[in-house]
């Protein structure tokens, strides 16, 4: 528990380290590097030995060529056996690098085949030599006295755990080197960034679906019931003498129910405006502009419906921009212009107010930027002190089917 690399395991207390799988993992890691390379080396040596020494110049070039060609395969194999030494997180899938880095990958594969395995072999042999020697000597010590045999046994028992340390240390170093060369950090980071971006988009989509569901539930449930209630109360008012105490109460109840209905309608539109789903961004922005206390000219012309997430983000961003300028800018006129340019939605909100809008001042601009960022868009602001203010949103929209 808690050890992700061989070197971390080494720093543990001896009993804990020796009981962990790391010594065995290290041994296995080194052995499975030695075996294939050793086999290749043995084959080459056999080939050379079976010919006369004159034939060596003829045989060597193809052997060297074969070694060079085996580089990519060895790099892949080295990456695969990293699994033994890297538990959590597991190494990602092997990727071909580009350019100079590719040369490094292949070169590392070649060096593994030619040289590094020899060091692996040396470390394994040196580490296991003492305990193995003791055990062999013990097996052959038929004529020795019991004191000698006991000493040999004790030496083996002490030497075997000690051998785990150089094995694990070297295997850890080899794994770190392989990781550095074969799994470059930038590639992994890039991959994670893509995944984070995707998951953010998925979250935004799920969030939007949930908002629509809430809107539908409120519309079909509470809103209809409240309307029905106001009808009942309205009819009750008709039947009551207008000067009665009951009429006064019913009138108050009627007014409160109507007020609740108005508030609920505003709430529902804030959750998700139906006109956006039904008619798209241009109509929804025009309607939002109609609600603004500041005079707003709307010129949004889009050739097609945009992806649902883009429409929602753009709509709420425009609403927030209009609310902001009504609150802070002291503008008398504003305009919203929207176009689709090369699959990028460009929305500009312009006002003739006093300017000086500062994203850092917490005037809602940061929230606006966040909304746009969720759909990979960006926000540009020009707001010199004294005005005018121009807010420009750019949101990329790839061609997709119109969303309902």
């Amino acid at each position: 528990m808690g050890t992700h690399t061989a070197w971390q395991a080494l720093k543990q207390r001896p009993r804990r380290f020796l009981a962990s799988p790391w010594p065995w993992r290290s041994l296995a890691y080194l052995l499975c590097g030695i075996v294939p390379s050793g086999a290749v080396a043995a084959a080459v040596l056999t080939l050379l030995a079976s010919r006369s020494s004159k034939a060596a110049p003829l045989v060597l070039p193809p052997v060297i060529l074969a070694l060079l060609l085996s580089g990519p395969a060895m790099a892949r194999y080295e990456h695969w056996r990293l699994r033994l030494m890297q538990v959590d997180p597991a190494p990602g899938p092997y990727r071909r690098a580009e350019g100079a880095h590719r040369a490094l990958q292949v070169g590392y594969g070649v060096i593994c085949t030619v040289a590094l395995w020899l060091i692996d072999l040396a470390v394994v042999a040196a580490s296991l030599a003492v305990p193995a020697g003791c055990v062999i000597a013990l097996a052959r010590s038929g004529g020795a006295g019991w004191g000698t045999r006991a000493a040999m046994l004790a030496a083996a028992v002490v030497a075997l755990p000690l051998a785990a340390y150089p094995l694990t240390a070297w295997a850890g170093a080899r794994a770190a080197l392989a990781r550095l060369i074969l799994a470059p950090r930038e590639v992994e980071l890039g991959e994670r960034l893509v995944e984070v971006t995707r998951s953010r988009a998925r979250l935004a989509d799920a969030f939007e679906l949930e908002r629509r569901r809430i809107e539908r539930d409120l519309h079909d449930g509470a809103q209809q019931r409240l309307v029905a209630l106001t009808v009942v109360l309205g009819l009750a008012r008709l039947d009551l003498p207008s000067d009665s105490a009951a009429a006064e109460q019913v009138t108050a109840a009627h007014e409160q129910a109507k007020q609740a209905l108005t508030e609920l309608r505003e709430l529902i539109r804030g959750v998700h405006p139906q006109v956006l789903t039904d008619r798209g961004l241009a109509a929804a922005v025009a309607d939002a502009a109609g609600r603004s206390p500041v005079s707003v000219d709307v010129d949004v012309a889009l050739p097609r419906r945009l992806p649902g997430a883009v429409e929602v983000a753009a709509y709420f961003a425009v609403c927030e921009a209009l609310a902001n300028l009504a609150k802070h800018s002291r503008a008398t006129r504003a305009s919203v212009r929207g176009r689709l340019l090369d699959d990028v939605l460009v929305l500009e909100v312009h006002d003739d107010g006093m300017g000086g809008a500062d994203p850092a001042a917490g005037s809602g601009l940061a929230g606006l930027a966040d909304r746009v960022a969720v759909v990979d868009g960006r926000l540009l602001l020009s707001s010199p002190s004294g005005g005018p203010t121009l807010l420009r949103m750019e949101i990329p929209c790839r061609q997709t089917a119109p969303s309902g």
Binding site: H219, V227, K258, I268, V275, A286, G290, R291, S295, V298
Partner: protein, 223 residues
């Protein structure tokens, strides 16, 4: 309270609770609900079957729970130019009202048409009055929608006096001179004078016919 002319009404509303409430309300005022339906195809079928005096329909209905009711209303206006249609909506959005008004095969001389927020049905007498005005060929537009429309065009409207703007809003909602005079507590002659001034300032032709005037004003506001 009884209506001057009992109406035969087709009512389309998918919420059973509200549908029954509305039917009870209309009956209470002496009208007959000849068909109560819960979706757009049933609405069209009921109109074919009963040939009602007016259709009252919700915007959002099954199967898609989008704008089926509105689309059915638009289709009915196109297919039955003499059929008055009142659309009840949960949405203030003028986009929907504009689409309903545009679906007029007779260009301003068609049958009555109305777009009201659903909230208005709670004011039962005003609501029934709206139903009757639409059935009589009038135009009824929700005050909230008119406010939104007025918010869109500022330039010439800013030249109106506050009182003229009030009159313009009431005109756009579909009220007659007499009703506007009652609401503002002025004489009809004063209203007529305001209206003349408004039409001049907005460069609209004087129209004697109430309905045509309302539609001209609405067309102007939406332009």
């Amino acid at each position: 309270m009884q209506a001057d002319r009992p109406l035969r009404i087709v009512l389309a509303e998918d919420s059973v609770l509200l549908r029954e409430g509305l039917a009870g309300l209309l009956r209470r005022f002496g009208h007959t609900v000849v068909a109560r339906v819960g979706d757009a195809p049933a609405l069209v079928a009921a109109v074919e079957e009963h040939d009602p005096d007016i259709v009252v329909t919700d915007v959002r209905m099954p199967p898609g729970f989008s704008d089926e009711g509105l689309r059915a209303a638009i289709a009915l206006r196109a297919g039955h130019p003499a059929l008055p249609v009142l659309v009840l909506s949960q949405y203030v959005e003028q986009t929907y009202a504009a689409e309903l008004l545009d679906a007029d095969p007779r260009h301003g001389r068609g049958a009555g048409v109305g777009y009201l927020l659903k909230d208005r049905v709670g004011d039962v007498e005003e609501f029934v009055d709206a139903v009757q005005r639409v059935a009589a060929g009038g135009t009824v537009i929700d005050p909230e929608v008119v406010r939104q429309l007025l918010g869109r065009r500022r330039d010439p409207i800013d030249r109106l006096t506050p009182r003229e703007r009030e009159v313009l809003a009431l005109m756009a909602e579909g009220w007659s001179n007499a009703a506007i005079a009652r609401t503002l507590v002025v004489t009809e002659a004063a209203v007529a004078k305001h209206i003349g001034s408004i039409l001049t300032k907005l460069d609209l032709p004087p129209a004697t016919d109430d309905h045509r005037r309302v539609r001209a004003v609405l067309a102007y506001l939406r332009a």
